[in-house]
């Protein structure tokens, strides 16, 4: 699914990712943890092609294609989805219109016929129910005036509608109350179908009780310093990151 090899990337003049390698197979869930400023969001941004993030060396293969050679929207249409740590607002553009345009673009790429507004509306309403967002949110501007938790649920709704191949969730759990956390986890679990892969960035073991990962990685100072199974998350919860940094040093 995804093969990252010796990736180095910088923002402005600062090196952030250093020789990062990570391989993700279809159907796998990889959790990425690590201290603030380690480069977790940077990884998501680099993979999705955000302007300002410059890859200096290394390669990324996504379903057999050179990901770094693709435009932002091509990556998205090919099934790479990033749930934002801080979703932005687009005033006046209704959520429904935005979602329809996104789904249209994805379906076009997959050579599927465009959904009629009527059919799409039906699907969108069902999906909003699944993430416990009132259908009224579909009419509001994209994230306009949404609470923190509502924005995160809106991200998950987008993920469900777009049915991506690789989902990168950047701290989707932070700022969520316990019910919302469950909603997000259920959403992700329902989408685990043995083919779709996930990168789940989180600071909390708690989320991983609900979304059980196949692998856990610790990212520190721009590289993966330790990888393990789901029990690594428990160990991190107990001991923090200090011992790892010592180990690396």
């Amino acid at each position: 699914m995804l093969d990252i090899r010796n990736l180095n990337a910088r923002v402005e003049e600062t090196e952030i990712l250093r020789n990062l390698s990570l391989s993700i197979k279809p159907g796998e869930v990889h959790a990425i943890m690590g201290p603030n400023g380690a480069g977790k969001s940077t990884l998501g941004n680099v993979l999705s092609g955000r302007p300002g993030y410059e890859v200096t060396s290394g390669s990324v293969e996504f379903n057999g294609k050179d990901l770094l050679d693709m435009e932002i929207e091509e990556r998205a249409r090919a099934g790479l989805f990033l749930a934002f740590q801080y979703p932005v607002e687009i005033p006046g553009v209704s959520n429904m219109e935005f979602l329809k345009a996104a789904v249209d673009a994805r379906r076009k790429h997959l050579d599927l016929p465009e959904l009629s507004s009527f059919d799409f509306m039906k699907i969108a309403r069902e999906t909003s129910k699944r993430v416990s967002l009132d259908a009224a949110f579909l009419k509001r501007g994209v994230n306009e005036g949404f609470s923190g938790g509502e924005k995160k649920r809106n991200e998950i709704m987008q993920m469900m509608l777009l049915e991506p191949n690789l989902c990168i969730l950047d701290e989707t759990d932070s700022g969520l109350d316990i019910d919302a956390l469950q909603v997000v986890a259920e959403g992700v679990n329902a989408m685990r179908d043995g083919k779709r892969s996930f990168i789940v960035v989180t600071h909390y073991q708690r989320l991983l009780d609900f979304i059980v990962p196949d692998h856990v990685h610790v990212l520190a100072a721009g590289r993966i310093v330790k990888s393990g199974g789901k029990e690594l998350a428990l160990e991190l919860e107990a001991k923090g990151y200090g011992w790892l940094e010592d180990e690396v040093a």
Partner: protein
């Protein structure tokens, strides 16, 4: 990203073709003889000629205004031709079948079929090319309702009392430099009269087209809504692409008598000039309406064209409880300049006005909102709400806001809000990460910004306006 946004604002002007139609075009220059020529050509009565001459003499003593936030080389008014008509119109066609097929084809190409069966359902169209009205559709159906919708030249002949009574009653001949010029040389335009208590059964629309080179277009529109009547009117405008600038100086007068309502919408897409700022229409327009008791006038405008726009659709709220509204989207790109806004003059008691102005600047363009809210001493209980929002695309464009408030009545409530924002890189990235290309992303963000104004447009035209913005923005991202 900024670069990307900027290159998206470069696209071709779709209405920029020129149709070769043989025309009778007056040689350039302006003097009393020209005014007399136009009047004679239109077979006008003496009173009309006198009215024009009075305007012409006033104009000769006036100076071009310079206060607007726009810059352009001096216009040589003697180098323009003041009259041009398609030759085939010389012996006026009585019906659509007699209209030159070339003309019909031109309108077809612009997306305005004039055959009634193909026309937009429920919209009557008056098509004006250069100096004359070509055809007005659905006249029979309108006449049944008692509605008059015809070229103003025809109204002068057929309804002299109405025209004499109302022409210049809202915008007097010497109101301003361009209005005086228009009053002297206007060649055609539309006349609308809605009788008492009648709700006009369909949208009325005038479509203006400048075709000939070096001609100015000076149309005159007069709409009179009798007591308790209602009309919704739309005007659209385009011109061929040309390297030299062309002048358009129109006057629109609206009269809403007691309890009447007029909705006036404009989708202005005159040729804006090329990427280097060469060519384009100079659009200097005076639009004003007067509201009597309980009357309401709404101006909605989507301004995407012209090299220079100077335009302030205004309301005189004379009657008690009357309402004035102004909803505007002005988009400038490349080297376009727009200085537009409104004037709300509160005279009657409990009058209220709403101003929603959205300015979008891209490329190296400049747009300015200029608005006056005046509350006269007698206008107790007057209210105004003004909201001006500017959206910048890229970092070489500018937006300016000049609100003027004059209140002589302490009971007035005036609220003003203003914001300036940019199409942010984060918004662009969100859209693109969801699979939208950059062009679609910008047009969606800009459309969202304009939503409050678009919802005021008649349905069919709201869609058009959205598409027009998309086209006008093309090339602003790459």
């Amino acid at each position: 990203m900024t670069e990307q946004v900027e290159s998206l604002i470069r696209k071709d002007y779709a209405a920029g073709f020129h149709t070769s139609i043989e025309s009778d075009t007056l040689k350039p220059g302006l003097d009393e003889e020209v005014v007399r020529f136009i009047s004679a050509k239109k077979e006008e009565p003496q009173w009309m000629l006198d009215w024009r001459l009075k305007a012409f003499r006033a104009w000769q003593e006036m100076e071009e205004p310079e206060w607007a936030h726009v810059h352009y080389p001096d216009i040589n008014f003697q180098a323009l031709s003041y009259y041009s008509a398609p030759k085939s119109m010389a012996d006026k066609p009585k019906s659509l079948d007699e209209v030159d097929p070339e003309l019909l084809e031109m309108y077809e190409k612009l997306g305005i079929p004039l055959h009634e069966q193909e026309a937009l359902a429920g919209v009557a169209v008056d098509a004006v090319i250069d100096s004359v009205s070509v055809v007005t559709t659905y006249r029979a159906k309108l006449e049944e309702a008692g509605v008059i919708f015809c070229p103003i030249s025809e109204a002068i002949a057929r309804f002299p009392d109405l025209v004499q009574r109302y022409l210049g009653s809202v915008v007097p001949q010497r109101d301003n430099f361009y209005a005086a010029l228009n009053s002297a040389v206007f060649s055609d335009g539309s006349f609308v009269y809605i009788p008492k208590g009648v709700r006009c059964p369909m949208e009325l629309s005038t479509y203006f087209r400048i075709n000939e080179m070096n001609t100015g277009q000076f149309e005159r529109t007069l709409i009179v809504a009798e007591e308790g009547s209602y009309v919704s009117y739309l005007e659209g405008c385009t011109a061929p692409m040309r390297d030299e600038n062309q002048l358009h100086a129109a006057v629109v007068e609206l009269v809403a008598l007691d309890d009447a309502q007029i909705k006036y919408s404009t989708v202005q897409n005159w040729y804006p000039g090329d990427k280097e700022g060469k060519g384009g229409i100079y659009n200097f327009v005076t639009k004003r309406g007067i509201c009597h008791r309980n009357a309401r006038i709404s101006w909605t405008q989507v301004e995407t064209g012209s090299a220079v726009t100077w335009k302030y659709p205004s309301c005189i709220l004379k009657g008690d409880n009357s309402v004035g509204e102004f909803y505007s989207v002005a988009l400038t790109n490349n080297f376009q300049q727009a200085d537009t806004g409104t004037k709300m003059i509160h005279i009657g008691k409990n009058t209220s006005s709403t101003i929603i102005a959205k300015g979008i600047s891209a490329g190296q363009s400049n747009s300015a909102y200029r608005g006056l809210v005046r509350i006269n001493a007698g206008a107790s209980g007057a209210r105004n709400f003004t909201q001006c929002d500017s959206l910048l695309i890229g970092d070489r464009c500018g937006a300016h806001t000049f609100p003027y408030i004059e209140s002589k009545n302490s009971s007035a409530v005036i609220e003003h809000e203003a914001t300036t924002s940019k199409v942010s890189d984060d918004q662009m990235f969100l859209c693109q990460q969801r699979g939208l290309d950059a062009e679609k992303a910008v047009s969606m963000i800009v459309n969202g910004f304009c939503r409050e104004v678009f919802k005021e447009l008649p349905m069919e035209f709201a869609v058009e306006a959205g598409k027009l913005l998309e086209v006008s923005l093309e090339g602003s991202v790459g």
